[in-house]
Symmetry: D2
Subunit: 102 residues, 4 copies
């Protein structure tokens, strides 16, 4: 993710507005997650579209959420790689007996 964090920082750094404040960024994340929910519902919800149609749209919404998460993380100097490693460790340690193995 370090590479992605850098790319986003290069984009934001050239803008006058800069990073949003944490709660502003949180609202933006919520907005992007709402758009993702809409696409998922369009595709797998009550009025199902055809299978082939639009997982690309879901892919773009997922990326938009990640973009927003990176903005928040950059503005707070978070290291997402470190966080992710810790999340994977939780899986293998804490949750190792939480789900049945195959």
């Amino acid at each position: 993710m370090k590479e992605y964090q850098k790319q986003v920082d290069e984009w934001i750094s050239q803008l006058k507005i800069g990073y949003f404040k944490p709660l502003e960024m949180m609202a933006r994340i919520t907005e992007e997650v709402g758009e993702l929910a809409r696409e998922v519902n369009h595709r797998y919800g009550p009025k199902k579209k055809k299978e082939t149609e639009d997982s690309r749209e879901i892919e773009e919404e997922v990326a938009d959420v990640i973009f927003a998460l990176i903005c928040l993380s950059n503005s707070l100097n978070l290291d997402i790689d470190r966080g992710f490693k810790s999340a994977m460790n939780k899986c293998y340690e804490r949750d190792k007996d939480r789900y049945d193995k195959k």
Copy 2:
């Protein structure tokens, strides 16, 4: 992200329960975003904690959201790198005059 998508897939592949259905995964993402919102509010909201205290907790919640997004993406065969590249392109093309430059 390809590496992360692979790591998550290795973890999920060994579990009997496997990937959730898209709408189940969407609810899980919403839950994780809610936990992130709680941490951001704890830290930058009405009862501010001390600066030094807990950006690590926010870092972990960000990673948990990304973990959940990867689960959704893997189950739908999405390529997050491709989506992210497309998101960055949108920034540089569509939005290039949307914000004032420095």
Copy 3:
């Protein structure tokens, strides 16, 4: 709320599609909350609009979220008035010493 639950039921009852399934409805709620977040950010976020402009838009987004919550509740036979009474009781019992009084 009973009156509102009835009004929504009258609207939905005449539609062929009927109530969504719970997880579909949950995704819809997430979508509506995202729209609310967008309006709140427009109004109180980084590019503040003038004070007078649009609390009406926020009002409508709040109502849309409540509409979606009522759809979920009706489909599950929930009694929102009972839930709300219980929430207010929690305030006065459980949380009574959680916040400083004036």
Copy 4:
């Protein structure tokens, strides 16, 4: 809803902390929606609980989201009844041919 808005105002008015700022309140709403998503997923998601078990828990989470929406609305002087009336009108006007009738 006017009655509910009044009850919440009576509760908040006696607290020193008072109403949160809009973006703080928005983060709180996101948190509560996350808790609702968790309950809906517990009940209707991958590891289904028994039917009889816990729609009460969902009922309480719905009420908590509405409570948070009322806090936001009160702090911004919104009239939820007016917003809801407008939402119902949208159903009967704008959307009247959007869904098939029975």
